[in-house]
């Protein structure tokens, strides 16, 4: 098997200068690979640094030590030391990230918010629009809202727009940070379906899922990220 993502002894701590230089350990020596067709679910108690680890992989948080290798074609790029524009390019072509929060863009309608995400990752404009329609319909966003800016939507509606945005592109790697949190059962089931489709297409997924039932359904493996710290200590 060829890995899509390889984490090698990834460590991260925050130094809080405003609190007298307090050190806050986040993750330590995290090492694992994720292959295509696989959904790796991050485990561990709350506060274990699961969400931070996803952000490190996405390049949103800095990696203090270790390597975050993401496959780009035949080669790996180390996110830990890549140039900003290389990271941005990977985000467009290789690696998607879905959180439960939509960063609202004023004045752009929901359908375009979703379709634009597809276009940014290289989809043809027509195909992007078509897929955006399918996704919004599947996620039960009423059609009358499609041309309205999501800024005015409820939290749940915004979340579903955000999921559509995250799933529209065919990227080899997908990072999911509790995408199903606070969704109702019907929509949770839709997201599970979407994840299964991505897996079937070969996407390598790393996710955090609060709900046990979702985790049961989608996880290929569960990795407790606190165990690396324990190993390191021992």
């Amino acid at each position: 098997m060829t890995a899509r993502v390889k984490l090698e002894q990834v460590s991260k701590a925050f130094t809080l200068h405003l609190r007298g230089g307090m050190q806050l350990d986040v993750v330590q020596d995290v090492t694992f690979d994720v292959d295509a067709h696989e959904c790796v679910v991050l485990g561990g108690p709350s506060g274990a640094g699961k969400s931070s680890l996803l952000k490190i992989i996405y390049g949103n948080y800095r990696c203090d030590a270790g390597h975050v290798l993401v496959r780009d074609g035949d080669a790996f790029t180390d996110i830990a030391e890549a140039e900003p524009r290389v990271v941005l390019s990977l985000r467009n072509r290789v690696m998607g990230y879905v959180s439960q929060f939509l960063r609202v863009i004023p004045r752009v309608g929901a359908l375009d918010v979703v379709a634009n995400a597809g276009r940014e990752s290289g989809l043809d404009a027509d195909i992007a629009k078509e897929r955006a329609r399918e996704l919004l319909a599947a996620l039960n966003v009423p059609e009358r809202m499609w041309n309205l800016p999501p800024a005015t939507f409820s939290g749940g509606e915004q979340q579903r727009v955000n999921i559509a945005r995250g799933f529209i592109a065919d990227l080899p790697v997908l990072l999911l940070d509790e995408p199903t949190a606070s969704l109702d059962a019907k929509n949770r089931a839709v997201v599970i379906d979407l994840i299964e489709q991505k897996k079937a297409q070969g996407t390598a997924i790393i996710g955090i899922f609060h709900d046990d039932d979702v985790r049961e359904r989608v996880a290929s493996r569960v990795i407790d990220i606190t165990r690396f710290k324990a190993t390191a200590a021992a």
Binding site: P84, L88, V108
Partner: protein
């Protein structure tokens, strides 16, 4: 591909006061770099140095011209420098009064660069101006009105049209949204964001507003006391700031 703009060791002092000290940066085509910091941090001086409006005490700025050759900007002749500024570059000023010709109509403001590079067909110039006015969401029916009659937001949008009409590759922006109402700001930012990605512009934007930097830029450079103290991917620097000063800056802002 080599960078579009490449600055090394830029320094400038005014007497004993160091305005900018040893700043280096690269900018590639299509990249948006935000330079942030509080007033007096040297960010405006840096912009002036990069845009060749201020001569550096030390350091150089190389720019890759359309023919592919890179040249040190501070060795250009005045004629070359001006040609560059009115064709391949744009400069959006904080104060629209400085960036526009206030007694000249909106159409004349947009058309000036075209006429400066030799356009001599009134009808075509006017048509292009109308097109650009609509692109920046100004009613083309106002083409013959002077910016004196425009609101602050419209003036900034007119400045944008005036600069983009020659399809520049690099645009400098100096606090383009400050002094505007919040709702007007949002609209302007959204417009700039759209144009920048549509036209693939490289932008260096100076702002003290981290929300503006977050919305528009790919990369960010934090300045303090004339030095670039931290730089990187915008969301990384804002969400995981490393330097004490950057942490202070980020924590002082309401939900940037």
């Amino acid at each position: 591909m080599s960078p579009l703009l490449c600055a090394r060791g830029l320094s400038k002092s005014y007497g004993p006061r160091v305005a900018c000290s040893g700043v280096s940066l690269d900018l590639h085509e299509g990249e948006v770099l935000a330079v942030v910091g509080e007033s007096g941090s040297g960010k405006s001086t840096l912009l002036g140095l990069l845009a060749t409006e201020i001569a550096p005490d030390a350091g150089q700025v190389n720019y890759r011209f359309r023919d592919g050759t890179a040249r040190d900007l501070h060795t250009l002749s005045e004629a070359e420098r001006r040609l560059l500024m009115r064709t391949d570059w744009g400069f959006i000023r904080q104060d629209a009064m400085q960036g526009l010709r206030m007694p000249v109509s909106a159409g004349g403001n947009v058309g000036e660069r075209l006429m400066a590079v030799g356009h001599r067909h009134y009808g075509n110039i006017r048509e292009t101006a109308e097109d650009w006015l609509s692109r920046v969401e100004i009613d083309p029916g106002r083409i013959d009105d002077t910016p004196k009659t425009f609101s602050g937001g419209m003036r900034q949008r007119l400045q944008i049209a005036r600069n983009l009409v020659t399809h520049p590759r690099l645009v400098f922006m100096d606090e383009p949204t400050s002094g505007l109402d919040v709702s007007v700001q949002a609209r302007l930012l959204d417009l700039i964001r759209g144009l920048v990605s549509e036209l693939g512009l490289a932008v260096i934007i100076v702002t003290h507003d981290l929300a503006v930097a977050r919305l528009l830029s790919h990369r960010i450079m934090v300045m303090k006391g004339g030095r670039a103290i931290e730089a990187g991917l915008t969301d990384q620097v804002l969400d995981d700031p490393r330097e004490p000063y950057t942490q202070l800056l980020v924590s002082s802002v309401l939900a940037a």
